[in-house]
Symmetry: C2
Subunit: 482 residues, 2 copies
């Protein structure tokens, strides 16, 4: 293996899926080289990237790493040269995919993972005739690739065992959830469910039971909400009650053999049925362009995933875990930058700007960063001690909008005994313009008695040190100005 | 039809579904009479109600109506007497359901809607032999009934057409989304999808492709999140890109006939398979009790649905629409109560109490209520005028916790020209204890120039009047104290 080379992903095929992969890698700090002979590929990838650059940073409460370099390669060879990961996302034709993989491996000596985005083929099928089948896997993502964490990872018969391990490490590092499929099977796991639902849906439309919109409503107002956070089995475990899962199956199992199983056939895709589905979909969503639908979908996904993040649950837990790899506030900086982040879309209100309550969120998070810096971290809180805010005063200077990068600079004005006084300046990251200021007064408390008390000695000491450093910096600054 | 009687729902069958229905009606102000001869029914219903009383008020940003009266009826006749709605949720046995419906109709002269929660039977099957088949329908809800809005409404052959209309009106009034199924079919719509996925999932487990936990992850980290807000067809419309839905079908349609269609058979539910699913589910979720799983599910649902509410999208739009029926702030009250609400669980932080930013939210909402009261309502904002907050100062007096009912009393200190100064007292609803205070300074702005400007004359006048009334009330109060 070569050493010390920067992380580089080669993306072969620049459609919606390839573009999504490019965004995932790029926004997590990888260099990305895209190869696609289609003259429209650059435009298409840039469209996906524009969506991703808007959406992905909003998932997190810390700034993403510095974006990598994006190159549209002239040849497949250029794209693949020195890559650490090759992702193939060309159309679902087995021979085409095999040929691309053959060309890729002809250029890179079989040292890099070559992964296919195929939704249907088994990796063993892709390995046929390859020069280095041991490096070939499937990693099947879900649209929008830049937001949804799921990626199905599948080994073929010839895949080297450590390759799956390495692949999972890379995919986790770019914020995805690699689900290793135990045995390869056509369509992997999730798409089998999608196909099952799709077949049933086409029957319901064909038989005049429901329209596309009614089917969507049947999903999104009911089990769709359940499945966004627990999936099928954990939900049914609850339905089983104290009797548990086995009770549930015994109770509902027989329903599987009821008469509607006759509808498991595939409906014939006549021109008439295609037209019917198309017309119903137009009636349902035709008032919105695809771009508008994408924005609606992404906004909803961000809002729901951020809500789950606040609960530390489901997809939100993955985001919180991933975020820990991003740059932490560094208390040795002067000024102490306690927050570096993008303003997410769920923080704005009907006036089109960040709601005043979210300034409070920003400054509350900034106070948390100070607490962590002096050792009043989650462990300390778990031990029964914390700081409570007793008074805040905020001045709103300039409007702040969704998607803007901001930072908060924090100064400790007083850090003695139970008392902690902070002064926060919130600034636009691009030009340093002041957006708001906040005076904040906190008291140290016992979480048991809910009354004030002295901080632990080590926290008190670190707080005193940091306070002194901030006072020195201010004195230094004043001297410089005079 | 009898007139002037209070709304009363009779709930026949007090399991998880019956309890969920009881909660829906009760918390929306209906009297509820439950009949179930099972000696455990009262305990079971009360358990569901405890969950619902905790969860449902948290969905909304206004207080729910006053809870109705709950009665555990000794006889079916008592339960049904003078009811406006009868909901049958007994076990899925056709003969039992027919017998219950027969008994219900023997007691109420065929003037009330009798609706079945059946997940499988067609209403026409339930109408066989009934004295008043025209009043019989299916309304099939989804667990947890007190949170998920979907209810499938199905007419049988004999159902009177206006009955479906009346049923939809009632169901909408208790915050549900009635999906009228165009033609009756076994298992209606949503459960057909659930069965399709369930069949596929059992095969995947039986064949050792995936465990229950892996299947849940395949759902909740991928398409589950998509389906919680858009469903199947609108999501696929995006996947079809500019080519639209017909393009999507033509591209992906052939996949329906791929070899995995062989797996559409029903796997045999051997003891071994039941055991396997049960064991995997224990390994996945066995560390949590059913109560803990319910709380986790409900908390996640609340957080996601509230996130969608902030976006005015999907299930969140339904909640916002329903909320409009709840009591609005009344500016003629002294003191002016601008907020009456329950503190939702997504407003609390690691200290176990409401995060400081959510006090800001509360006071921001209180300011909105003042704006609406003086005519600076959404239409006014749409016309390009609004108030922006320029300074707030909050004093946190007592801790506030999830599930607590609170109110905000607001006084206008200054309402002249561009200036608006408000003083908010936030109090616990149960005992009036002061929780926090907020001084808030707002300026009237043009949304076009983003600069301050005078309010429209009618708004300025109403603001002056309300300010004067608040000043008078304060003077009066001070006189009384002296």
């Amino acid at each position: 293996m070569k050493k010390h080379r920067a992380n580089k992903a080669a993306i072969i095929g620049g459609g919606v899926i390839g573009g999504g992969w490019a965004a995932r890698f790029l926004l997590n700090g990888w260099d990305v080289h895209v190869y696609d002979p289609d003259p429209d590929a650059e435009r298409k990838v840039n469209e996906v990237l524009a969506n991703a650059r808007w959406a992905l940073p909003m998932l997190y409460d810390r700034a993403l790493p510095k974006e990598g370099r994006l190159v549209f390669a002239q040849t497949l060879e250029d794209a693949v040269l020195d890559a650490n990961w090759v992702q193939e996302s060309v159309p679902e034709k087995l021979e085409l995919k095999r040929e691309i993989i053959r060309l890729v491996q002809a250029h890179e000596a079989g040292i890099v993972i070559v992964s296919s985005s195929t939704s249907g083929f088994k990796p063993t099928d892709l390995q046929q005739g390859a020069s280095n089948p041991e490096m070939i896997i499937v990693s099947h993502p879900f649209n929008p690739v830049y937001l949804l964490p799921l990626v199905e990872v599948v080994a073929g018969e010839a895949t080297h065992p450590t390759v799956i391990e390495d692949a999972c490490e890379t995919l986790t590092a770019i914020g995805m959830f690699p689900l290793v499929v135990r045995r390869e099977i056509d369509a992997h796991i999730a798409d089998r469910f999608l196909e099952a639902v799709w077949r049933e849906a086409l029957w319901l439309i064909k038989d005049g039971i429901a329209t596309t919109e009614e089917i969507d409503n049947a999903i999104r107002y009911g089990f769709g909400l359940r499945w966004a956070q627990m999936g099928l089995f954990e939900t049914y475990r609850i339905a089983g009650g104290e009797g548990g899962m086995a009770h549930f199956i015994q109770q509902f199992g027989p329903a599987l053999k009821w008469p509607w199983t006759k509808l498991m056939d595939v409906p014939e895709l006549t021109d008439e049925l295609v037209q019917q589905v198309g017309d119903q979909s137009d009636a349902q969503s035709g008032h919105l362009t695809i771009r508008e639908l994408e924005r609606l979908r992404d906004t909803n996904l961000i809002a729901m995933m951020r809500a789950l993040k606040d609960r530390g649950s489901a997809a939100g837990k993955l985001i919180a875990d991933h975020e820990r790899a991003f740059q932490e506030p560094d208390a040795s900086e002067v000024p102490f930058v306690t927050i570096r982040r993008t303003v997410p879309v769920d923080w704005t209100d009907y006036n089109g700007h960040m709601n005043e309550s979210r300034y409070g969120q920003m400054f509350s998070d900034a106070a948390d960063a100070v607490m962590v810096a002096v050792g009043a971290d989650p462990d300390y809180i778990a031990s029964g001690l914390s700081y409570f805010t007793v008074e805040t005063s905020v001045k709103y200077v300039l409007e702040t909008h969704a998607g803007e990068d901001v930072r908060v600079e924090t100064r400790i004005l007083l850090g003695e005994g139970k008392k902690l006084k902070l002064l926060h300046d919130m600034r636009r990251a691009t030009d340093g313009e002041l957006l708001a200021t906040c005076d904040q007064f906190l008291l140290h408390v016992s979480l048991e008695t809910r009354k004030t008390c002295e901080p632990r000695a080590d926290v008190a000491n670190r707080l005193r040190e940091l306070t002194a450093r901030h006072a020195d910096a201010r004195a230094e600054q004043e001297r410089t100005i005079q």
